[in-house]
Amino acid sequence: MNTQLKKGILEMCVLYVISEQDMYGFEVIERLAKDIDVNENTIYPILRRLTAQHLFTIYEKQTNLGAPRKYYQITDAGKQRLAENINEWKTFLNGVFKIVGGTFNE
């Protein structure tokens, strides 16, 4: 798949799973790997990029064992970006389905 397109979609997925619940880095990878092929190891760079764009904030939480964990939490700007992305994505998919057939499963 076109990597630029894939990157955009993965960004949306990362925004989405973190909007559901705060997560630490590896948890995000695990969550996405469950449903899609993410062996291209782009997740952490995405987390870092989106954090730099102030779409996530970071806080640390003590764990039972050893070092505190870094959690990612979505910001208002992040929620807004996610809504925009989902909107664009749906419009895009609808268009694709009109061309090649198939339906949106909601």
């Binding site: 630490y24 880095g25 948890e27 695990e30 190891n41 782009t42 952490y44 760079p45 070092a67 870094k70």
Partner: protein
């Protein structure tokens, strides 16, 4: 690759690209945490490095989120200036003294500066060695005509690639056998006046290489691509050295046959470097184009333009 090696390699990749120290610290601690989390889930080291990405790829992915030390931007400017400095120096010395050869070697400043400023310590020595060898070989050869045995200087290339070998036995045997072979070659040549017999001394390092390749055979045999590349590389080494030495010894062609030796670094980049870019080849290609046109057609005054291919290709490919 275990956790420590993985993090060390990642650190090297980031340091080599002059990423700011605090960002490196931040990234490394994040990767350490993810690595620990992955191990806790029962993944093997190999799984983890597949999942998190090879350190060099990680750098490529992270690239647009990183800020570089300000000295890095400064260095890029210096690298961009070297082609102009080289052209001006070359023209000035060439026009005033008419010594185009070996003045052309100022063009080697372009790749040498880029290597000095852009690679990590370990890579630096290996990457610089072919250029250092060319410079010494050409200067000594041109001014003293001792092309033989000065060609032995090219052995610093395999020796440089072995300096950081972790396996002590392998390193000592490799470097030792090359030095013994060189000694044997010199003794046979100067004491017994037979360089040809002296060449047989190089069977010793060849055997050492084959022996250690044998140890790796089980790994290599499982990966047909690596095996194929290994065999091709070995054949290129043997053939290019044979071409270089026979043209030099029998046809007195030292002045041009050394270009065959460049096939070795060229093919190693082509066969083993994952990034499929043209930029790393350019210094060697430029040297060959420039020198062939100059040596065979007497076009040194014009053929230096070939060196401008180095920065041009780098700019086009990396923009």
């Amino acid at each position: 690759m275990n956790k420590k090696q993985y993090l060390d390699n990642l650190n090297d990749a980031l340091v080599a690209h002059q990423v700011k120290t605090e960002e490196i610290k931040d990234i490394l601690s994040d990767y350490e945490q993810m690595y620990d989390d992955a191990l806790e889930r029962g993944l093997t080291d190999e799984d983890v490095s597949n999942l998190l990405g090879k350190p060099k790829q990680v750098y490529e992915e992270l690239r647009d989120t990183l800020s570089q030390k300000s000295s890095k931007r400064h260095q890029d400017k210096i690298i961009a200036l070297t082609p102009f400095i080289a052209v001006i120096t070359f023209m000035l010395i060439g026009l005033t003294t008419d010594i185009w050869h070996p003045t052309w070697m100022v063009f080697l400043l372009i790749p040498i500066t880029a290597i000095l400023l852009n690679t990590s310590k370990k890579e630096k020595i290996v990457a610089l060695s072919p250029f250092v060898a060319i410079i010494i070989f050409m200067l000594v050869g041109t001014y003293t005509s001792y092309w033989n045995p000065t060609w032995l200087i090219f052995l610093i290339v395999p020796i440089a690639s072995m300096i950081y070998e972790k396996n002590n036995v392998k390193r000592i045997f490799f470097i030792g056998s090359l030095l013994i072979a060189s000694g044997f070659y010199l003794i046979m040549g100067y004491v017994y006046h037979d360089f040809m017999i002296g060449l047989f001394g190089f069977l010793l390092p060849a055997i050492v290489i084959l022996y250690f390749a044998e140890l790796k055979f089980e790994v290599i045999i499982k990966d047909p691509l690596k095996r194929k590349n290994g065999i091709i590389f070995f054949m290129i080494i043997v053939l290019s050295l044979a071409a270089f030495l026979s043209l030099g010894l029998f046809a007195a062609g030292w002045g041009y046959s050394w270009m065959f030796v460049l096939l070795i670094p060229i093919s190693s980049i082509f066969l083993f470097d994952k990034s499929k870019k043209i930029t790393p080849f350019m210094p060697f290609v430029a040297v060959i184009i420039f020198y062939s046109l100059g040596y065979f057609f007497g076009l040194f005054e014009i053929s230096w333009i070939a060196f401008l291919l180095i920065p041009i290709v780098a700019v086009i490919e990396n923009s």
